[in-house]
Amino acid sequence: MTTATAAEPELVSGPTAGPFRRFTRRLVRQPLAFGSLLVIVLLVITALAAPLLAPMDPNATDLVARNQPPGGGHLLGTDDLGRDLLSRLIYGTRITLMAPLIAVGVGALIGVPAGLIAGFWGRTPDWLLSRLADAMLSLPSLVLAMAIVAARGPSTVNAMTAVGLAFSPRIFRVVRGATMSVRHEVFIDASRAIGCTTKRLIAVHVLPNVAAPLIVQATVLLGFGVLAEAGLSFLGVGVQPPEASWGVLLRRGFDNLYMAPFQSIPSGLAITVLILAFQFLGDGMRDSLGKELRRA
């Protein structure tokens, strides 16, 4: 995890090697992080190419071949309606990957502006927004999301928007911290002195410095998003049938636990691997950030 060293000696470090290139090079040298990136890319390809990869129609029921064990005609077996579990797992990749993106997107949409405001202006806006973040963080994300789903009604988008709202204070904190640390630097004062507008200041000076920690935090939150989607779908208040995500598959497997315990294994394992991949990638990215990008 953190065994890979952050302080790799620079083989090439001329003016041509920008911070981003150096970052990528350091990231590629960390086997766990790079492997995780590959896993995620492969899953994205799987999601896109699901119709080509899936051996069967994921929704085709076969009441004769119900609860088949793995092997034979069905590599991962069938569920209680005789649907091919491998095909469902492959198609499930789509929502499973899309859901955390929605959550993190919504979280960033709220958290980034709020963090910029709090970090840049300080004082009262900062105090108010920080208290709001504290309040939201004293509830488990899952419970906060469930409360909102209760009001808006269960659906994939509603559930993940709610999760995004629950994520927003975490993004807020990172952006606020990064903004504050840039804000006190000389060049901001200098820019002010030469008459830069606040909008321009934020766009030119603050945002680029906030980007690095924000991307790391977003990656970590994608992992939590996978967990949240699976949890909400498991409870039946997230992704709604006939749509299928890995969380839905896991729930179906759990309902069938005494009949066919094996149904719970592939989807649970897939969720765990995906969460691990986002975790390793986030750790690796954090370690790869050079001093020039590492803030907050």
Binding site: A135, L137, S138, L139, A150, G231, F254, G268, T272
Partner: protein
Amino acid sequence: MAGYAVRRLLTAVPLLALIGFGAFMLTFMIPGDVAATIAGESATPQRIEEVRRQLGLDDSALTQFGRWAGGVLQGDLGTSMIHRIAVTQMIGERLGVTVSLVAFGLLIAVLVGVPAGLVAGLRPGRWTDRLVTVLTTLGLAVPAFWLATILIIVFAINLGMLPATGFVPITENPLRWLESMILPGLAIGAASAADVARQSRSAVAETVGRDHVRTSRAMGLRPRSVVGRHVLKNSGIPIVTVASLQVERLLGAAVVVELMFAMPGLGQLTVSAVRARDIPTIQGVVLTIAVVVILVNLLVDLSYAWFNPRLRKR
């Protein structure tokens, strides 16, 4: 000390007020005709009107909030739309189960996590340290509900050692209660144990290198006292902090795991309330959980004074 406690208590007030306001606002997030939605699809117009009156939806938002907040302050969280029972009563009946499950999970997290962190932190870089690192990474990635599934498959279905369902109140039969707590406790506690182990490891590794630990050794104290008293107490604040953060995590996991083990706690209540869009119940659950989390944080802050005497005498 007393002054510190009071000041710390006061910071909880705006937090609770904000959470209360947010919970109240849930009603306004319902799309379309709130009364119709809450009453359900098959409701008669009379029923919809009844709901509207019951919720006081005709009044202004401010009046509604004032009425609701006034009730909350007197311990009245409203009436469940589904069960037609006071929310306070429903929560009261179920809180004990959830709190005992969370406490059990926390106990597992501390009993496993702190020793694991100690073993790893006392000898950084050793194979024990690496093993702990691998296990904590895995522990943090495995979702509680999948771990619960596996635990049920192994211990309930294959080995038949422990029950997968059927919660027994501690007052009825303490031994059966313990049996019914082990699997769900492990399921929700594993990730917390991993987190506690990770933080304990770094806290212990830092403390071991301090001068005063060398003094303890120079005075011939046994390793048991050096580690158990001097290292542990000085690593206490980060360990207690991370342990307290687990309460939030455990409550979240408990919601799912209670359902899996058919435990009549807040989780079950929440899930059924979300499905039925029973807003008053949800509001009550949100407030209750927030109070529990904030209360724990408060107690933890006060415990810092025990670990660091400087805070006490200021």
